[in-house]
Each structure stands twice: as C-alpha cells, then as structure tokens.
C-alpha cells in the first residue's frame, strides 16, 4: 500500500526567502505524524503545500497516491483540515456550516453524519447556535467536526486542541486516537503542545529554518537527546542547546 503522504525535495521560496528547503518525508498509512518547530520554521507553509493551497517552488507531493500537482482534487476529497486560525461563517448555525461542508465533500446522509459527530464530540446543544456566538473552545470543536465530516483518510490538524480546557482537550485527543484506530486514518499534526505530541504521535518531524533537522518516534528522540520530555528536546533543537547522540 502506498504511503498516505510522500514528499520529495519539497521547496518553497518567496523571493529571497527560503521558507521550506528541500524536505523529504513519508507518512505511512495509519501513522500520526507530529510536525514541530518554532514560529517561522516552515510548518504552515508545508501544510499549505500538502493541501494544494500553495504551489511548491520545487519538489513533489503525493497524497493518498495522487500527485498534488496534477490531481489534487481527487486527494482533497479524501482528506480534510482543521485550524483554529481559519474560521467558519459566523452567522450560519453550526448545523448549517457542517451541512455546507457535507455538500462540498459529497457526504451521503449529511444530517445523520452531523448527528453522529455532534454526539461523539459532545456538541448536540450547539447545533442551532450561530458559529459566531461560540466560545473559542467550542469553535475549535466545531472546526474539528468539520474536518471529520467526510471521514477523511488523511487529517491535517493545525493546533487541534488550542483554546480547549484540559478536560475537553483530553476528550478530543482520545477521540482522535479512537478515530485513527477505527478507520486506519493518517494524521499530520502541527502542535506546540508537547504532551499532546508525545501522546498522539507515532513519529515526529522537527523543523527549523525550513528544514527537517531531526525525526523519529517521541521515545527515540527522548533517548537520543537524553531528555525526559519532548519540550526539552524541542528547546534543544530550537536553541541549539544540545546535539542528539547518534
């Protein structure tokens, strides 16, 4: 079976600025990959290229076997994306918003799927509320529901538990684990929550200045950097504090 994501020599240059510098990685099906790095490391640019929102300067991207340069819409129908930084129309109710995306993704029996998601993510009481009247945490949950509307085989998540209280954050993480186990979906996760990355991710890509500077499972990285938690590994890399042992 092909990898869910296969990226080769991926480069993005804006004039003289090199945002992403010839990165290579693959995400096997069913894996949860963490994309970590400081601000300006190239994470958002990489995700935007994976989504087809940004055309790479060089390199290739294959998503679910589709070449994103030639066949991105076939891949887009089988994947989805959530970010607290992209909003849903504020005046539409939660149910209306989800219905819009249900149609855009060709979801059969949309209202049944919305009811399922509302029950699983615990927002049945919010369905008729305008999206603009929700709290930040509620919006994050609805954005996650939107990203699951088409039962995606590949889920790209940017800060999926940002703005959530610890209890709801934990519920969402548990739900993501269950979703991956039940569907075999692949998840690519950009997060600054290191505990979340340690818990959810099978592999981590550490980005700095547009390059992948290290990679491995959370346990492998902890061992190689001689640290007890991933936050210290992150700081070691970002601040050039300590080299990994080979």
């Amino acid at each position: 079976m092909t990898d869910a994501i296969r990226v080769s020599g991926l480069t993005k240059r804006y004039g003289a600025t090199l945002a992403v510098d010839a990165i290579d990685f693959a995400a096997p099906r069913g894996a949860t990959i963490g994309l970590l790095g400081g601000n300006g490391a190239g994470k958002t640019t990489t995700i935007a290229m994976l989504l087809g929102l940004l055309i790479p300067t060089a390199g290739t991207i294959h998503v679910l076997g589709h070449d994103m340069a030639r066949d991105r819409f076939a891949a887009l129908a089988r994947m989805n994306f959530s970010s607290p930084y992209v909003a849903l129309p504020a005046r539409l109710s939660v149910a209306e918003n989800l219905r819009v995306y249900g149609h855009l993704y060709g979801v059969p029996a949309i209202d049944r799927r919305i009811a399922e998601l509302a029950a699983e993510l615990n927002f049945e009481d919010l369905l008729d509320r305008p999206a603009g009247q929700l709290s930040a945490g509620q919006k994050t949950r609805i954005a996650l529901a939107k990203s699951l509307i088409n039962r995606p085989e590949l889920l790209l998540l940017d800060e999926p538990t940002a703005s959530l209280d610890p209890d709801t954050g934990d519920l969402v993480r548990s739900w993501l684990e269950r979703y991956r186990e039940q569907t075999g979906a692949t998840i690519l996760l950009a997060s600054h929550n290191m505990a979340e990355v340690e818990r959810l991710c099978t592999d981590v890509l550490m980005m700095k200045a547009g390059r992948i500077v290290d990679r491995g499972s959370p346990a492998d990285l902890l061992t190689r950097y001689g640290r007890d938690d991933l936050e210290d590994v992150f700081l070691d890399i970002v601040r050039n504090r300590r080299e990994a042992t080979p």
Binding site: Y14, T44, T45, A48, L51, G52, L53, L54, I55, F73, L76, A77, F81, S83, V86, A87, L88, P89, A90, R91, L92, S93, E96, R99, V100, Y101, G102, H103, L104, Y105, G106, P130, K146
Partner: protein
C-alpha cells in the same frame, strides 16, 4: 422522486446553500438587495414623469427610454455585485481557506457565485420593475421576448466584469474590494445607458462599442422608439460578451494560479 445530484452539482449547491443560509439569517442583507434599485426607480421615475409632463409625446418616449435604461442597467449592476460580493463574503468570514482546500473546483465556485448573482439580481430588480409599472405605468415587459435577450446579455456582462474584480482581489487581496461596488459605475458613461453612442465624442465611440451594454441599450432604444428589433446590435452584444468572458476566464485562471504561487490565498483577507 429523489433526484440524484452530480458530485459537481452537490458542491455547487453546497456553496449556494452557504449564501442562502446567510440571507435567511440576515435581513439587512436582503434589504440591501432591494434598497438601491428601488431608490433609483423613485428618483428616475419622478424625473421621467416631470420630463414627460413638460415635453409631451416625445417626452413620454424619452421618459420610457430613461426608465428602461435605469432598470436594465440595474440588471448589469446587480449581476456584477452579486458575484463579487458573494466572493467577498467568504473573505470577510475568513472562510476561503476551508473552501479552497475542499474538493470544490474553481469553476464550480464561479458557477455557484453566478447562480447566487442571478438570485440576488431577481430579488433586487423585480420590485423596481413592479414599482415602475405601478407608479409610472412603465411596463418593461412591453419590450417583448427580446427583453430576455437584453437581460441575459447585461447579466453576462456583469458576471465577466465581476470575474475580473475577483481576479484583482485574488491578486491584491481585500484592498481591491472597493472595485466590487465602483467598477460598473465607472463604465456607466461609456455604456450608452441613457443616451445613444452617437452623443459621445468621436474618439470615445469605439470604447463604448466595445462594451456589450452599449449595443443592448441601442437595441432597447430602437425597440422602445420605433418597435424595431436591432438584431445586429444583439449579435454584437453576444459576440462581445463571449470574447470578454473568455478574457476574464483566462485572467481568473492566471490570477488564481498566481495566488497559489505567491501564498496570497493564505492571507487574502489582509
């Protein structure tokens, strides 16, 4: 019987549903659709009535031509704004990121915006047409079936101009949004809406004749004044619309790709 929609049809409907739901929940937006065309009809209707009362039979014909021009120009205006403002709604709600990473093709988005524009135009212009009939005894439908061809040509012109505006917004961000309201007003003096092309200075006439609207309004005046249908003007309007629509489509495709290259789609609201 349940009609199975094609996958493209469902995506187009999805985007239309988004805008229809918005109108259902926002009465000021619905009011805005009818406000300006109705106001225009009051202003120009009374002006026409005044002209007709002063000049007599010739004045009545001139008044009819004036009212016909106002109503049909609203068709073009509302069609252009319908596409451009629906696109801007996505920017204002910071929703474009979700829309452009969905399987919705750019051409499907354009079709959805055009369909919304047709609905917006109908809601906006129909009350003004009824008002012209009720208050000033001017029935636009007296033009006969050719009115449909006039209206379709003006709607098409509004759509390709809007596609050009959307292309500029893709290229320059929300900073170009003022064009959504102003661009067609800038064309009005050359579109021969209220006077024939021959009134324009000689050097401006080719500019007017390159616009489908000028041919539509020449045709409308001929129909109202003499009852003759000028098929030559209609043929020109159709041909020009096709040529301009092709140019606008190429511009849109080029700017959409440029926005994906420059990263403008990531920060289009700024």
């Amino acid at each position: 019987m349940k009609i199975a929609m094609s996958t493209s049809g469902r995506r187009i409907w999805g985007l239309m549903y988004r805008h229809l739901a918005l109108y259902r929940r926002s009465w000021p937006r619905v009011l805005e659709l009818t406000y300006w065309p109705t106001l225009q009809m009051f202003i120009w209707g009374f002006t026409s009535a005044f002209i007709a009362s002063r000049i007599g039979v010739g004045g009545q014909i001139a008044a009819g031509i004036l009212l016909g021009g106002v109503l049909l120009w609203e068709v073009a205006l509302r069609s252009q704004m319908g596409v451009a403002i629906s696109f801007l709604e996505e920017i204002w709600s910071r929703n474009l990121g979700h829309v452009f990473v969905s399987p919705l093709r750019p051409w499907e988005m354009v079709v959805a915006l055009i369909a919304m524009s047709a609905i917006r135009m109908t809601i906006g212009v129909l009350p003004a047409i009824l008002l012209a009939w009720a208050l000033y005894a001017f029935n636009l439908f007296d033009l006969g079936p050719v009115l449909i061809l006039f209206a379709i040509n003006l709607m098409a012109m509004g759509w390709w101009i809007a596609l050009g505006v959307v292309s500029l917004i893709l290229r320059h961000g929300a900073g170009a949004e003022a064009l959504a309201w102003s661009v067609l007003f800038g064309i009005t003096p050359f579109a021969a809406v209220f006077y024939p092309v021959s009134v324009l200075p000689f050097w401006l006439q080719p500019v007017a004749l390159a616009l489908p609207a000028a041919h539509v309004f020449e045709g409308m005046r001929a129909a109202l004044d003499t009852g003759i249908i000028r098929w030559d003007h209609l043929a020109w309007a159709i041909g020009l619309n096709l040529a301009w629509a092709l140019a606008a489509t190429l511009l849109f495709a080029r700017q959409f790709r440029a926005a994906r290259t420059s990263g403008a789609l990531l920060a289009i609201g700024e």
